[in-house]
Structures are given as C-alpha cells and as structure tokens.
Amino acid sequence: MTLVDPTLGLDLGRGWFPADAESHRRDAPRFCPSCAAPLGLAEGGHGLATEYWVAGDRVFACYCAACDWSGDIVLAVRVVGHEASD
C-alpha cells in the first residue's frame, strides 16, 4: 500500500509523485496545433510533449514529426497582463 499525501500528491512510500504522472498523461496535448496529427505514440502519432514547470504554469514543449512544428503549450493558472521588463 502506498502512502499518498492528498494535498501534494506526494507518494511517501516511494518518494515520488504519481499524481503528477497521472496529470501529465491526462493533460499533455494529444494533437498538433498546426496540422492536427496525433502527437502521442498511443494514438499512432510521432510527436513529443515534454512537460516542464514555470512557477504555477505547466508548459508542454511539443514537437510534431508530421509537419515539423515545434513550440510550447502553456496550461496557465493565471493570465498575466504585465510582464516584468526582463
């Protein structure tokens, strides 16, 4: 039995974050924003979505082998109106 902290999703037994892995599987973009080809191998696609985090945002760095499109898709917790100058 694993001990999961419901607040953080922290797997206290194994020391990693299965809840994050689950949300990654759920939320990763499934289709190319440019040509609509599937990105995931499971759907027959040949793309890649690598997730990284910036503050509260989850960013999926995507690549589509069907059309060679590449770019970041951001799941933002907040739309920011003013950015810092740098």
Partner: protein, 418 residues
C-alpha cells in the same frame, strides 16, 4: 515529464526501433588502436549487439557479428586471415565485406557459401581509436564518412580515460545540455566533499550561472553560459561548446581540448570516454607512438560512488538516476530547457531517418578536419583551469598526469618569457 511510451522510445536502442535506427547511422569507437596491435581480434558490444572486430596483417580492419552464421560460435575467437576472419569452430571464412569465402567441410561444387553472409560493418582507425559503422550501407543509403572532428586529428599530447557505466546513454547526454548542474554538482557539492575529506575544491566550478542559452547548429546543440563576474563577450557565452549529436560533447579550456564520448553499449550500459588533447602553445610535443588509455574509478572500496573528482560526480548523478531513468515522474523546470530541446532533437532526427533522410551530422564528403566551436577561457578562470583540470578531474588518474602538468607549466613559463 514524459509518458512511459515516450520514455521507452527515447531509450530503446534495439534494431528496428526508432532510436535504434537513428543511432545506427553514426560511427562509434569500439576499441583502442593498441588493443588490436596487441591481439588482432576482440569482442565489442555496440548498440545492444555483440561484434567481433579485427585487424588483418596488412592493416585492414573489419567487423562482423560475434555469432558465426554457421552455428553461432564466437568469431571473437576467430582466426584473422589476410582477407578476413575465419570461425574457430569449423573454419568458415568471411571477407571484409561479410561474404562467405570458404566452408572447409562443405563440398566445393555446391553454392551453399553464396547463400550465407555475415552482416559486416565498416571500420577505420582515427586518433588512437578503432571506429565502426554498423548501419545501412546500400546504394540508396550508403555508409557516411567517419567525421574527423578536430580533437581526433590535432597536434598535442593525448590520453583517453574511460569507464563502463550502468545506465542508458540518453540521461548522460541530457547532462550535456544542463549547464546549471556545474555550479552545484562540481561547485557546492565539491566544496562539501572537500570540507568532509580535507581537500580544497576548485573555485572556478562554483561560479553562479547568470544566464544560459542553447542554439541548434549543424553538429548538434551549442551550449552557452554567463557566469557571475563574466559577460556575454566572454568565451563561455560568445563561443560556448557543443553537444555533438547524438553521443558526444566537445569541451575544453586553457589549452586542453576534449571530446566526451558516450557510446551506447546496450540499453543500460554506456561506455564513457574522455578523449583529451593537451595542446599548450609554445612547446614541442613529444612523440606518442601509442595513445595511453586508463580506466577511471566509478566506485570506492566502500561501494559508494567516487565523488572526489569532477567526472566521478557526473557519473554519480547519471548512474543514481537508475539504469533507465523514469521520466514519467521527473519535474523539469525552466532551467531544463536544454533537456527538452535535446529530446525534441532526438525525436525530429528519428522522424528524418524513418522518412528515408540523413539525420543531423551525417557527412558524405571526404574531409581533413572538422573544427567545432569551443571556448578557450573556461569559466573565466585563465590558465589555472588547466592545473585544476588535471588535479581535480579524471586526468588525475592518467598514467601521464604529472608529465601533463609539467607540459602546461613549461609552456606557460615559455609564453611569459616571450
């Protein structure tokens, strides 16, 4: 973070897999030149497959799968002949191109040997290493040229440190596009180890990164950094140094030029090699009939990783990620942007190979030398970097470590006088 399927695709190097097919489009070092001088045939493992690599009396090199096509005895125990290699079991002889030339126990009038062939690769010697190409070699997709990167052909005093590491090569390559690790793994952690064990860690590695950048270029990805006290005009940013796709990193500084080579032996074993050329200006280099090679330690007597030198710290970080790191539970941040860039590059090049195109870095023109961009003034540390490098990195295990320090000091003194 990746899905399990994406992680599998990124790390599986078996024949027929996207990554396996991509990696089979490049040349790899499979032996030290001196090994085949000492004995003309040896076993080599590359990309999860076993091979026999050999050198004939006339100096020609060959490579065939280790298992004889007849009844699978090891060709690594074969008899090297003038025109190929003969199986030690029943004497079947295979030529340099893999054609079956003799089957001593079969009758001459049959055409059996015309129907048997070993899948021979191509082999060349360069810079003290024996290199093999085991990918497609057809009219539509001929074998590429062996790239003659600068370090393998430049003048200087060479040596090669190496270790076989129990992990997949991709996690080692991801380290090559991760500049931030330097100030912690080789800075703060090194200082901590020094405090615990009573030595002084080099200060140049601990400088804080102000800015990092990555540019794709014709041979891979150029990595740039600005460390505290330096500017974008300094070498670390203006020049940087490259990840040479798909399995090398070119580094250097203070007259030491190096290629860090990470050969995928199998899915969970990587041969890590540090090919160094010490080339200070203003001194005559001694003759080197044989390039020295030496094994660097991975574990200490207590079974823990040796982390009292720079590459030992890297090795600890690579290996403790696991044989194949589980990227479904990692947490990347903005500072890992180089890692995401490398994964995209692997994926894009897999797609190119699947589409019948040449992947990045394929070279088809004969050439003398390929110069790679690489900073000279490393970490803005000046000539002290050379001595730090020999004392505190893998070169300290070189059989010629003291001679190398003397070489750099003598050259430096000569330059001061001039």
């Amino acid at each position: 973070m990746l899905t399990a399927e994406q992680n599998d695709e990124l790390t599986d190097i078996a024949p027929g897999t996207p990554m396996g097919e991509l990696l089979r489009r490049y040349w790899y070092p499979v032996a030290f030149t001196r090994e085949l001088e000492e004995f003309p045939v040896k076993h080599a493992k590359l990309l999860g497959e076993d091979w026999a690599v050999y050198k004939t009396m006339s100096g020609r090199y060959g490579i065939v799968p280790e298992a004889c096509p007849h009844r699978r005895a090891s060709m690594a125990y074969g008899v090297v002949e003038a025109n190929g290699i003969r199986c030690p079991y029943h004497g079947w002889l295979f030529g340099l191109d893999g054609e079956c030339l003799e089957q001593p126990a079969e009758r001459e009038e049959t055409n059996f040997r015309d129907r048997v062939r070993a899948k021979a690769g191509k082999v060349e010697e360069l810079g003290g290493l024996v290199w093999a190409y085991v990918g497609p070699d057809t009219e539509q997709c001929p074998a590429p040229e062996l790239p003659r990167f600068d370090v393998f052909v430049m003048d200087g005093v060479r040596d090669i440190g190496w270790a076989d590491l129990p992990c997949n090569f991709v996690q080692i390559m991801e380290n090559a596009v991760d500049p931030h690790h330097v100030e912690f793994l080789h800075g703060r952690y090194f200082q901590f180890m020094g405090q615990q064990h009573g030595f002084e860690a080099p200060a140049s590695f601990a400088k804080k990164h102000v800015k990092v950048g990555f540019d794709a270029f014709e041979w891979g990805i150029i990595k740039r950094r600005v460390v505290e006290g330096a500017t974008e005009a300094d070498d670390d940013w203006a020049v940087g140094h490259p990840l040479v796709f798909p399995y090398n990193m070119r580094v250097g500084g203070a007259n030491i030029e190096q290629m860090q080579i990470r050969v995928p032996i199998d899915r969970t074993t990587t041969r890590f090699m540090l090919y160094s050329v010490h080339a200070p200006e203003g001194i005559e280099f001694p003759e080197q009939p044989v390039v020295p090679d030496y094994q660097i330690p991975v574990f200490g007597e207590d079974g823990r990783h040796r982390t009292d030198y720079v590459e030992g710290q890297d090795i600890m970080a690579w290996v403790t990620q696991g044989p194949i790191t589980d990227r479904t539970v990692e947490h990347l941040g903005r500072s890992d942007v180089g890692v995401t860039m490398l994964r995209r590059m692997f994926k894009a090049e897999m797609a190119r190979v699947a589409a019948g195109e040449d992947p990045l870095g394929t070279i088809r023109e004969p050439h003398e030398r390929i110069d790679l961009p690489c900073e000279k003034n490393k970490f803005d540390a000046g000539p002290q970097f050379a001595l730090d490098f020999i004392d505190m990195a893998s070169s300290r295990f070189s059989p010629q470590a003291d001679a190398l320090k003397k070489l750099h000091i003598t050259a430096w003194e000569g330059r001061q006088k001039a």
